[in-house]
Amino acid sequence: MAIQTEIIGLPPRSRSRLAALRFGDFPLIPVLILGCIALVAIFANLLAPHNPEIGSLAARFKPPFWQTGGSTKYLLGTDQLGRDVLSRLIFGARVSMIVGFTAVIFAGVIGTTLGIISGYLGGWVDQVIMRLTDSWLALPGLTFAIFLAAIVGPSMWNIVIILAVTYWTRYARVIRGEVLSLKEREFVRLAIVAGCSKWTIMQRHILPNVINSAIVLGTLMLGVVIITEATLSFLGIGVPPPQAAWGLMLSDGKQSLMVGRWWLSVLPGCCIMLMVLSANILGDWLRVKLDPQLRQL
């Protein structure tokens, strides 16, 4: 049999898991971008040329250096309070990274767990969890977030919690649907007739098969979460103002976009876009690499 597989021309396969992750199609640019953002976030204090929270009113609305009126002192210009945009972007990376990733991970853990339990156990457990999810979805998400923010008060970590409890429902829905089809698969039945307990099956057979969807959903949710963070900041209940956050900057810049001060909103917008896009591409690559059937192709 071993000889036969050689004959039909399958490439000889390396046994090592690491080598199996072929690096030919590795999404280098997205990883570099995310890596840069992460590094910038970590070393923000060293990199930022100015204090991001204190500006000089004399230097309000300076354009980026290549435009007339710009100076190399403020490479990417200044905002309505004379704060350096570049420094704010650098510190904003920290907030966006923390808020984006932790909120997505928290929401993912809650949603995936409930989705698997709901889908696999079925019956009244499913009913309870799904009705909870339904009513959660029926709540206007933003209003709910405002309500929560009003209760717990604005701070970066509260935003993380608010976003997590607002967005877990999407995971729960998607994952439950996957589980419903998975549990009819023969290998789950075989596990049942082999005497595995429900928890063992959920852990060993269901979870690994839905984790790909959860990761892909997570990379998509990253964008939504960052935008919601921006909205909350815009409404004054997000990251509290002097602190720099991309979403906050985007909203702050909106008013002056009409009078040509594009750099105030376009630059943070680009940062958000780069981060979300990179995360999406990386997530897609991960999805392929985590699936042993696709890995070989």
Partner: protein, 358 residues
């Protein structure tokens, strides 16, 4: 293929070396499983008053059309029925213990360990995300609490015993890297991994081509012999029954209409349904004739006729068949038949069981 299991295999069967207990390994008594609709308005009698017995080391074939309750019977024995199904009456004595009375936790220790099952589509029975070794080792780890290294070593031995070449490398591969026949044998290896006493195979060869089928059946027989397994073989292929089985039970509309030793049933079927089934097998040499079919459709299990369920399709039907369902009669020689035609030369099987003629 005809040689026995390689001697290097460390799988010393332990079960059949023990003195065989008197009495059958599994005895089903008057077992009924019904599907009840949520309102309780529709009751589907998927398995109805089934009494069967199987001894250690024996092969029991269960044949019948689709929807005759074969698979539900298998699921009933393992107590892995879908939520809508209920075991409404009867006993299942396995090694003298009634499986109907067992708690879920107790059943979990029996499933996979003492009674194993091979599913209808073994091709899809493997989890695509785990290596072969992980999956063959899983029941060993679950049931015997063996460590990873021990379980994997046994997985390698098991793969060898089901004739997977170079098991050392195969254990680290994934299901999609195997051919259909190999996956099938791997599922077989999972089935015997905890040395069960009873293996239920639910149409294990339907998804295989004929040459692989034959190989797989040979393998099953060898495993059975080497491990002293009792085998319940669910199929609709009478050719396989003739090749594989000692005992045969023919199911129709949820009931066992005829059971007994294969050779006797094949030579002299008592029930007209069995006879019709046997006549519908195409034979070499008479290609000129049309194949014989059984006219009509199987009955709706939720609305069975008052008399014998087969009466509307039976060509030897008489008045009594339409008004009264036949009980299980026992013609000579460990046989049973649910047919009034058998009434003349036999006694009802209840009497037979009590007099201990088995």
């Amino acid at each position: 293929m005809s040689s026995s299991i390689p001697s290097s295999v460390s799988y010393e069967p332990t079960g059949q070396r023990l003195p065989v207990k008197t009495g059958p390994l599994l005895e089903l008594e008057n077992l009924s499983t019904h599907y009840v609709s949520s309102g309780g308005t529709r009751v589907v009698r998927a398995v109805d008053q089934v009494s069967l017995r199987i001894n250690a080391g024996e092969t029991l074939g269960i044949v019948g059309e689709s929807g005759s309750g074969k698979s539900t019977l298998a699921l009933t024995i393992l107590r892995v029925l879908p939520p809508a199904a209920r075991i409404v009456e009867g006993r299942m004595l396995f090694d003298g213990e009634d499986l109907v009375q067992k708690s879920d936790a107790e059943m979990r220790h029996i499933r996979g360990k003492r009674i194993a099952m091979i599913l209808q589509d073994p091709m899809a029975s493997l989890n695509p995300l785990f290596t072969i070794g992980d999956q063959v080792a899983e029941p060993i780890r679950v049931h015997e609490g063996a460590g990873r290294a021990t379980a994997w070593q046994r997985a390698r031995d098991l793969l060898k015993s089901v004739r997977i070449p170079s098991p050392e490398t195969r254990v680290t591969q994934y299901p999609h890297e195997m051919s259909g026949g190999m996956r099938q044998r791997i599922v077989g290896a999972i089935g015997i991994s905890c040395e069960p006493r009873l293996l239920i195979a639910d149409e294990p060869t339907t998804s295989l081509d004929l040459t692989i089928q034959a190989q797989y059946l040979n393998l099953l027989r060898e495993l059975q012999r080497a491990h002293g397994l009792a085998l319940i073989f669910i199929t609709h292929n009478l050719g396989i029954v003739a090749k594989m089985c000692d005992q045969l039970a023919v199911m129709y509309a949820g009931r066992v209409v005829e059971s007994g030793p294969v050779s006797r049933i094949f030579n002299a079927p008592v029930h007209p349904y069995t006879e019709a089934l046997l006549n519908s097998i195409p034979r070499m040499g008479d290609s000129a004739q049309r194949l014989t079919a059984i006219e009509g459709q199987p009955p709706d299990l939720a609305a069975l006729p008052r008399g014998c369920a087969f009466a509307p399709r039976c060509d030897r039907v008489f008045d009594r068949c339409r008004v009264e369902a036949p009980p299980e009669f026992a013609p000579a020689g460990r046989r049973t038949a649910r047919c009034w035609l058998a009434a003349a030369d036999s006694t009802p099987s209840d009497m037979l069981v009590q007099s201990g003629t088995a």
